[in-house]
Amino acid sequence: MSLLSFLDRSHTIAKPGYSRWMVPPAALCVHLCIGQAYAFSVFNLPMSKLLGVSQSTPADWKLTDLGWIFSIAIVFLGLSAAVFGRWVEEGGPRRAMFTAGLCWAGGFLISAVGVYAHNLWLIYFGYGVLGGCGLGIGYISPVSTLIKWFPDRPGMATGMAIMGFGGGAFIASPLSVWLMQKFSTSTHIGVAETFIVLGIVYFFFMMVGAIIVRVPAPGWKPEGYVALAHTKKLITNNDVFVYDALKTPQFWLIWWVLCLNVTAGIGVLGQASAMSQEMFPGHITPVAAAGFVGLMSLFNMGGRFFWASTSDYIGRKNTYFCFFLIGTVLYALVPWTGSIGSVAMFVLAFLVIISMYGGGFATVPAYLRDIFGTRYVGAIHGMLLTAWSAAGIFGPVLVNYIREYNVTHGVPKAQAYNTTMYIMAGLLVVGVLCNFLIKAVHYRFHMKSEQEAERAQAGIAAAGEPVGA
């Protein structure tokens, strides 16, 4: 009972003297942990020879079967963020972070049992379903809290947290490899033990975030901050109810804006190593390609903070115009860099593209806040993440299948990606149009006091915070 009340929103209201700069590290505690998902592939090869140890046996799991673990987790990320978004929003960040920690750590522990018992279905359920729910709930848990603490710099604040999601793999990848080395012997691969250690460490880390996170007291404002009396064209002081947001064209336009931006980035992110080697045979070796992938990860992470912070100054709409216009030019130039054999131009183009891919993720919460207000931004963001799941299918399909088609039709490997690059540039032009069409939400969608009272009576907003705060 006392633990449950400790998780309540009412117990997380900041006392005077609390610094809002405690909230970004609280958010990072969660995002750095769940960002491990990007590094899950380090387990694929070891898990494909758990029985054979030195090499795979027919009874071992196939890489194609193991690939489903990550896919299931990403599907459940999108689903849980969409389904639990409102629960996260109304219950407060501590309850959400605690739940995310339980799901995430529980997913690892169940997967450890799955590895020990050599039962892949347990891993699908553990890491895929339960861990995926931890991913979704954890991803959206600090978003609206950060926006409320940083009304003057919402882009920077959410950018910091979402940067952590990009950076989580930097820690998880070498840590997992090191742990597996420690637990492996000549007759055993230490995947199960590594899962147990990671589960415990991540749970501890996420609980620290849950303990130190606070929501601002009602009516709190940063010192010297004056809310705009007259809102800018695209920044509202009103709130839109979570399910009403779905009825607006703005939600779906932003959905496409995110989906197109992610589609353009995610396909090349997954194929960067192979693509760079095939476009520059003899110039980019496998080792150099691995370095290129590492550099892209750094720009993916850095872009999240850089672009989201920049959006506080130039506006969200202009930031997405930058992504789409610069992206279109760069994608159209990539085949040319291949034809003149300029590795430097090729690398530079993709580093900028991938920084904008990360920037798209990090800027979108602030875009939603501008359009739909602060009250349900976390829940609306959760539903928007289905665009990520969709892009996760479109992007790799575009890159892989078009390359395959070209190669089987006699196109040299060095030019096999050209068509895809032009298609990506075309998709970004569509993104420009979608972004251009985004206007302020019609006032009929704004929450009204009677509507709020009705919902409060129904117990929807019984989370300790005044309705509509």
């Binding site: 003297g17 610094s19 700069w21 590290p25 505690c29 990848s173 370095g291 590492g294 750094l298 992470m301």
Partner: protein
Amino acid sequence: MANQAQDSSMTLKLLLAWGFVGIPLAWGVMQTIANAMKLFQ
């Protein structure tokens, strides 16, 4: 006086909180940079 003590306590909490997330992240970034340098070798 009480305010000063509260301020220094909050500063310490901030340092601990940022160190708690910043040190592992910096370690991970250094590992990745070392890996990325292979592109220029």
